[in-house]
């Protein structure tokens, strides 16, 4: 039984503009894939701990010593738009009346 998905909502969370055709196709395909994926619920018992990684590591630090990093010029070289050494983006908020 394919899973029903609110495609509009998920696309909004993922910040992806979709065409009507893409929405229809994804609704069908994700339903089928998730129906298959839901099999994980058949065997994942409460007493099984989750694994985020096969070889867990934690608190991996290096010495707190400054190292050379990218120049501002190199960091901006791929920017679609930049100005005064900063990334330039379209407005992010209405400035009000």
């Amino acid at each position: 039984m394919p899973v029903e998905i609110d495609i509009e909502h998920v696309a909004k969370l993922a910040r992806i503009e979709l065409t009507d055709d893409e929405r229809a196709m994804l609704r069908d395909q994700l339903g089928i894939i998730l129906d298959h994926a839901a099999k994980v619920g058949e065997v994942a018992a409460d007493d099984v701990p989750p694994a985020a990684s096969a070889i867990p590591r934690s608190n991996v630090f290096r010495d707190d010593v400054p190292e050379p990093s990218l120049s501002q010029e190199a960091a901006l070289a791929n920017a679609p738009e930049h100005v005064d050494g900063r990334f330039r983006v379209p407005k992010i908020a209405d400035t009000g009346p």
Binding site: R15, H36, V40, E42, A54, L70, P80, P90, I92
Partner: protein, 490 residues
């Protein structure tokens, strides 16, 4: 092009010739670039060939070698890189429109290590967009064709690297294996594909797909070459917190010691429905050969392997949905203008990502969203624990586990593009090793009745690369296949 040329030899054969002064690095790179030029209009294995960089590097190297300086086993060898490894000053696209013009300001550690040891870059190879796919048909720049049959896929996602090595357009190549993306194309293209233990090779500069699964891996024309490459690539990198501290052994030491007494477990569940008869019989015959040279063979099982595919298609897309959030039109990559920044992001991502990438971002976003997280992502992580335990149990009784690498040989271009589930099933035998982080290698073991390559997968325990490579080398030596795609006979 019917004769065997320099670019058809293995890395170890070529290193011997360079060391003996029989050939120069320039002669070798010229032979390889000539081959690349002769075949790639048909294969589309390369997105960005780098002939000028390659010639310049080879000339430098010849000057250096003329001084009699010691050289690495990778020096002078023409190498291709999947276009997901950053290369300083050389365009890196991930097979995506969203990174079509991206020129990285830094080298990936894996490439920096090879380059530092004298390897010669001949080009960046085509791949499924952001390494998501099993056929290379998800590249924004068009599919790669299989040198064994131009109407068929080379496998994916590292299809360009596989095709390049199979066709002699590179002596070896790097790919990435997140759910089988090196082993499966190696199997379908008739070359050796080796995924070491997760964390054995630094991921720094490998543009992320699913960070807990992504593994730098190699395509070679011999097991020995895979061992040589791992020796240079492996080791801790302060720039990748998941890279392992474990000592790096000499992987060539004892490589030819054979398999006397090696305990080989045949994964019984990997010979069921969906496995082509030619594939099953070829893999079984290869196991018999291992037994014939001293291995003990028994039946093994990974009881939760049937759930691994489901877990993978929740975990990998979930990680991808997070990793690919960075493509927002602000710092690099494509931008599509909008009336404000949010609209700009929606339009940029809608225009920049292809169908499979959108499918996986949506899938992962859903699996991580409020109300569904526990039922999908949380449960998938528990299945991952069960798969890890399955391997631990199996390796109590066996040193190496074998199965087909892929249930089928190379399929026709277009055959599965409209059916994502059918495409995902290609990786059913390769995915479990990614979930468990264990090393695994695909070695060619024969051809099917249509003349297409078949691969056998051998898997070992965490950091068990030495015994695994030894078993693979023994099998390769025993089978002694002479694999030359029809493309090269024409």
């Amino acid at each position: 092009m019917s004769g065997v040329e320099l670019c058809d030899l293995t890395g170890s054969e070529l290193t011997a010739k360079i060391r003996a002064g029989e050939i120069t690095a320039v002669e070798l790179v010229d032979a390889t670039l000539t081959r690349l030029g002769a075949v790639d209009d048909r294969l589309s294995a390369f997105l960005t060939p780098t002939p000028e960089v390659a010639r310049e590097r080879a000339e430098e190297l010849d000057t250096y070698l003329a001084t009699g300086a010691p050289q690495s086993g990778v020096a002078g060898i023409p190498t291709a890189l999947k276009d997901v490894f950053t290369t300083k000053g050389i365009r890196t696209t991930c097979g995506s429109k969203i990174l079509q013009d991206y020129v990285p300001p830094y080298d990936a550690t894996a490439w920096a290590r090879l380059s530092g040891a004298g390897s010669v870059l001949v080009g960046k190879t085509n791949c499924d967009e952001f390494a998501m796919g099993s056929s290379n048909e998800n590249s924004a720049f068009g599919p790669v064709r299989n040198p064994w049959d131009l109407e068929r896929v080379p496998g994916g996602s590292s299809g360009g690297s596989a095709a390049a090595v199979a066709a002699g357009a590179a002596v070896w190549a790097l790919g990435t294996d997140t759910g089988g993306s090196v082993r499966q194309p190696a199997s379908l293209s008739g070359v050796v594909g080796f995924k070491p233990t997760y964390g054995r090779i630094s991921r720094y500069g490998l543009i992320a797909f699913a960070s807990s699964l992504d593994t730098v891996s190699t395509f070679t024309r011999s097991v020995r070459d895979a061992a040589t490459l791992l020796g240079v690539l492996a080791g801790r990198d302060p720039r990748d917190a998941t890279s392992l501290d474990a000592e790096v052994p000499d992987y060539l030491d004892g490589l030819d010691a054979g398999v006397q007494g090696l305990r080989v477990g045949v994964l019984t569940e990997a010979f069921g429905d969906g496995v082509e008869p030619d594939v099953a019989s070829s893999v079984r015959a290869a196991v018999d050969r291992l037994e014939g040279v001293g291995a003990t063979v028994g039946e093994a099982s990974l009881p939760h392997a049937e759930y691994a595919l489901s877990a993978y298609y929740l975990i990998a897309p979930s990680e991808a949905s997070s990793n690919l959030a960075r493509y927002d039109g602000v710092r690099y990559g494509l931008r599509k203008d909008g009336s404000d920044s949010i609209e700009m992001m929606f339009r940029t991502r809608g225009a920049g990502f292809g169908a499979e990438v959108k499918r996986r971002i949506m899938l992962g976003t859903y699996a991580l969203s409020a109300g569904y997280y526990e039922a999908y992502y949380g449960q998938a992580q528990k299945v991952r624990t069960l798969v890890i335990r399955d391997y631990e149990r199996a390796f109590e009784s066996f040193d190496v586990l074998v199965s087909p690498t892929s249930p089928t040989t190379a399929f026709p271009i277009g055959a599965k593009v409209d059916d994502p589930m059918a495409m995902y099933l290609n990786d059913i035998f390769t995915i479990p090793a990614n979930l468990a982080g264990t090393p695994a290698i695909s070695v060619p073991c024969g051809l099917d009745s249509a003349g297409l390559p078949i691969g056998i997968q051998l898997a070992g325990p965490i950091l068990g690369e030495q015994a695994l490579l030894r078993a693979a080398a023994a099998l390769e030596g025993e089978l002694a296949l002479d694999l030359r795609p029809p493309l090269l006979a024409a």
